[in-house]
């Protein structure tokens, strides 16, 4: 990994959050002042099922070091069934990334309800720690994008 010892590695992390549960959970984490690293940037989507595997690959391509998808708990989807589809899509995608040798742990799915500010913050802290330990994403980044 090409990080010099004295330069602290700040990972880039994209979090896709569904509008109804996880985004609200992130809001609750905020209003409860539950600290998690600034490396996490949240993109609001209506539902976890809106997240195209292409978005995730694209994020990695553009230099993200980790991507996390948060949605309503299975059974609680605002749109009834969206997260069930997301769960299958992500299960297959993550398995494929693992198969081509991308360190697993760079991708994660977590179900966070609107009431789970604590869980949201904990999840983000854990995820950032994980990505920091994995270091820079060098396998999926399109090197041309760094120029």
């Amino acid at each position: 990994m090409s990080i010099t010892a004295n330069e602290e590695f700040k990972p880039k992390i994209v979090a896709f959050c569904c509008n109804w549960c996880s985004y609200a959970g992130a809001d609750l984490a905020g209003s409860s002042r539950l600290v998690y690293p600034a490396d996490v940037k949240i993109i609001r989507v209506p539902c976890s099922c809106r997240v195209n595997p292409m978005f995730i690959l694209h994020a990695f391509e553009k230099g993200a070091d980790g991507v996390i998808l948060c949605g309503c708990h299975p059974g609680d989807c605002h749109y009834s069934t969206g997260n069930y589809y997301a769960r299958r899509r992500m299960a297959l995608l993550f398995s494929m990334l693992d198969y081509i040798g991308v360190e697993h742990g760079r991708t994660r799915v977590e179900w966070v309800s609107a009431a789970e500010g604590v869980k949201f913050s904990q999840t983000m802290n854990e995820f950032v720690a994980k990505i920091t330990s994995l270091g820079k994403n060098v396998r999926l980044e399109d090197l041309r994008c760094r120029k």
């Binding site: 391509e61 059974g75 069930y84 769960r87 899509r89 299960a91 990334l97 742990g105 999926l140």
Partner: protein, 322 residues
């Protein structure tokens, strides 16, 4: 083969069909190509069916369905899965096709023949029993076992049964002698570094000719997302290994749950990239996670990615299986 020609001529002459979709003799004995035939004369002169007719004709029926009248299409057992899948996706019109299921004794790979150290090939003939092939070369004749020259996909043959047909002609042979997922499992057992190196090596050869996409019966979009401006993923001139990786993952994802494992992608790849390893990984995962599923068996069946159960595996668990 003659039986097929005779039957095709009958169906043409009695007006059941307006044309025949089959394989046309190529410039060499080992490279027939898919083609329409509209006359008895053309059929007699150019129609061919032998061990080299690996091409899956299902996808051609997307266009065939738009033509006037019915088209007679010859489908091998494994091709018929693709046709069924296309019916499920409303891409072909069953009523526009007259399907003759043709027997298949396993199909041959020119690459496999060359791999056995045969050079300067001028002609290849296959014995009637499909046990041996005789390769005429500039340096003399050589006999090879049919089995050793088969396409990878034939070693994991899905069976002799046609999934859909109006009538059948000829005998089939189940050529399965390998485990379908053995190669996938071998890769799964590698370390992340080995896996990455393996795919890096394979995919670095990709020249982005799109042959895999063009031949794939599941890749039947009118306009591919990779050619669309909507996704900012349109082809870039300056391709590198990264983009190939993304292209092949996304392509495999798009056909996941719909891919019948017909193996055409690997067959046509001019660079010999084992593209089926992507599709088969998804098939294996789908089988493991959601129960066995073979696309193209039942056109009414819901694809694994457009259905779910309340207790599906969690992505985290899956990702961390090992």
């Amino acid at each position: 083969m003659q039986e097929m020609i005779n039957r095709a001529k009958e169906l043409l002459s009695d007006g059941t069909v307006n044309r025949v979709l089959g394989w046309r003799r190529g410039d060499m004995s080992y490279n027939p190509e898919p083609s329409y035939f509209e006359t008895a004369e053309d059929l007699d002169a150019n129609f061919v069916y032998n061990g080299f007719c690996g091409a899956n004709l299902s996808k051609y029926m997307i266009e065939g369905s738009k033509l006037e009248g019915k088209t007679l299409v010859f489908l091998k057992p494994c091709d018929s899965y693709s046709f069924n899948q296309l019916i499920a996706e409303h891409r072909v019109d069953r009523d526009k096709a007259y399907i003759i299921g043709v027997g298949c004794m396993g199909k041959l790979s020119f690459e496999k023949i060359k791999e056995q150290g045969v050079k300067g090939i001028t002609n290849i003939t296959i014995d009637d029993a499909n046990e041996n092939i005789t390769v005429e070369t500039l340096y003399g004749e050589k006999t090879l076992a049919y089995k050793d020259c088969m396409l990878e996909r034939c070693h994991v043959c899905k069976g002799k049964e046609h999934q859909i047909f109006d009538e059948t002609i000829g005998e089939s042979r189940d050529t399965k002698d390998a485990d379908r997922f053995a190669e996938v499992e071998k890769i799964e057992a590698m370390s992340p570094e080995e896996k990455f190196a393996f795919f890096q090596n394979e995919l670095s050869r990709c020249i982005r000719c799109n042959a895999c996409r063009n031949v794939c019966p599941a890749c039947s979009c009118r306009k591919c997302v990779f050619d669309s401006t909507k996704f900012d993923s349109a082809q870039k001139a300056n391709v590198d290994s990264f983009e190939e990786r993304m292209f092949h993952i996304i392509r495999a994802f798009h056909v996941a749950g719909r891919c019948t494992d017909c193996g055409e992608c690997s067959r046509v790849c001019p660079q010999g990239i084992p593209l089926h390893l992507f599709n088969r990984k998804f098939i294996k995962d789908i089988d493991e996670f959601y129960g066995e599923f073979q696309a193209g068996v039942d056109p009414e069946a819901k694809s694994p990615l457009t259905s779910f159960t309340f207790n599906d595996v969690e992505p985290g668990v899956t990702g961390g299986r090992r």
